[in-house]
Structures are given as structure tokens and as C-alpha cells.
């Protein structure tokens, strides 16, 4: 059985990955982001949504059009959950 396993990757996230993780979780939990972008794909960097769209590709294309857009590998690409107040309190 072939395995795409790359032994050089550590089981612990590096600094870039931790930063992506923080942005990713921010998109999942921030009420304003969820109200505005729920159900869509976004690309986020340092707690800022750089692009949004129906698909990852659309979100990334929107981000790339903005001046100063960071490189792709710095972004969190997230499907943002809908904000449903009744679901939050269930």
C-alpha cells in the first residue's frame, strides 16, 4: 500500500501553520465573519478576510486582486459556517 506520508513533517505545527490555524479558527467562530460570509469560502490572513466567494477558487481570485495580497501559502482557506443563533445555544 502506497502512502503519501512525508516523514520530515513534524507532528507539531510550525509557526506558519499555527498562524493559519488561528486565522482558520477565527473564521469558524467570529460572529461578524459568520454573519457576513456564512456558507461561503473565504481566504483569511491575520484576522482579515482578503477574499470571499462561492468556491475556494473564487475566494482566492478575489484576494489576488487586492494590492499587497500575501502569498497563497500564508492564507487560511475556510468554508465559513452559517451563523444560526438558535444552533449556538442548543
Amino acid at each position: 500500500m502506497k502512502n503519501a506520508h512525508e516523514p520530515s513533517l513534524s507532528p507539531y505545527l510550525d509557526e506558519r501553520e499555527r498562524r493559519i490555524n488561528e486565522d482558520y479558527d477565527w473564521c469558524l467562530h467570529d460572529v461578524a465573519v459568520r454573519k457576513k460570509h456564512g456558507g461561503r469560502a473565504v481566504v483569511a490572513y491575520q484576522r482579515k478576510v482578503w477574499g470571499a466567494g462561492k468556491t475556494y477558487a473564487a475566494a482566492w481570485a478575489a484576494a489576488r486582486r487586492k494590492p499587497g495580497c500575501p502569498p497563497r501559502h500564508e492564507f487560511a482557506l475556510v468554508i465559513v459556517p452559517h451563523y444560526l443563533p438558535e444552533a449556538e445555544t442548543r
Partner: protein, 153 residues
């Protein structure tokens, strides 16, 4: 060592309460040259599905490292009528017992030639993955604190 990974609810707007359960997943991706790196893309637990699925949009946006599945015999199934290839990616799941640590697991998946407009955009975890890794799945729709978890030997 057996580890636990929490599943997280992902609510869906509907006249009746609906929820999906997602795991916080990292994937081994291509980078420049021979190096690889990881990116995060949460995956949907889809136990109504036999084989896992990696939608085309997710594959392309992540630039996943996918190895061919040499041992596959016979025709590759379609996914909702869409022709597929089949291959293996590497999935990294967070280990609840040791915050910050992740464990890697081989992930066999259908690779549809194109995506469907009304299909969820998530990578989907089918029952083959659970069987291959002997994973116990626990879901509790009454709990918001611990709604679900995977126990992996």
C-alpha cells in the same frame, strides 16, 4: 497509542435543525521543489458514504500530495455519477490528549473529475477510512460541549 480527535458541529440553515460534523484536519501538500508542507482543510464525517471523497476544488486549492492506489482492482466507482480516479493523501488529525500534536493517517479517497454545484464543498470521510484505521466514532447530538469524537487505536 490510542488517541482521540474531537468532531465539531457545523450548523446548516434549514426549517428543521441540521448539523454536519467536521474534524479539524491538516493535509500534506506540495510545495516548491521536493518539499512538502501542510495546510488545513476541515473534513466532513460522511458515514453514509463508503469511500472518502476529495472534491476537485479542495484538491486544487490545497495542491494535495496524492499517491496512486496501486492495489486497487477493478473499476473505480463514480461519485454521484461523476467519473473518479482513486488515490491516497495524508491526513493529520489533532490529538486531544496532547494539545498541539497531530497524527498522520493514510487517506484513501475518490477523486472526482469535477465538482457538483449542490454538493458540500468539504472533503468527506467515508466508512472505508474508519474501517481501515479501526476508528470508533461517537456522536452525541444532545451535547454542545462534546458533540462527537473519533477514537483511533
Amino acid at each position: 497509542m490510542t488517541t482521540t480527535t474531537t468532531l465539531h458541529p457545523h450548523p446548516v440553515p434549514s426549517p428543521t435543525p441540521l448539523v454536519r460534523y467536521l474534524g479539524h484536519c491538516w493535509w500534506t501538500c506540495h510545495s516548491a521543489g521536493r518539499h512538502t508542507w501542510r495546510n488545513r482543510c476541515d473534513a466532513l464525517l460522511a458515514i453514509g458514504q463508503l469511500l472518502s471523497v476529495i472534491p476537485r476544488a479542495a484538491r486544487e486549492s490545497l495542491d494535495l500530495v496524492i499517491e496512486p492506489e496501486a492495489g486497487w482492482r477493478g473499476q473505480v466507482p463514480t461519485w454521484l455519477g461523476v467519473p473518479c480516479r482513486i488515490g491516497r493523501a495524508t491526513l493529520w488529525l489533532p490529538v486531544d490528549e496532547e494539545p498541539g500534536r497531530h497524527r498522520d493517517l493514510s487517506f484513501l479517497a475518490l477523486l472526482p473529475r469535477h465538482d457538483l454545484d449542490d454538493a458540500p464543498p468539504f472533503i468527506q470521510i467515508g466508512t472505508q477510512f474508519l474501517l481501515e484505521h479501526r476508528i470508533q466514532t461517537h456522536l452525541d447530538a444532545t451535547s454542545t460541549v462534546s458533540p462527537g469524537r473519533l477514537t483511533i487505536p
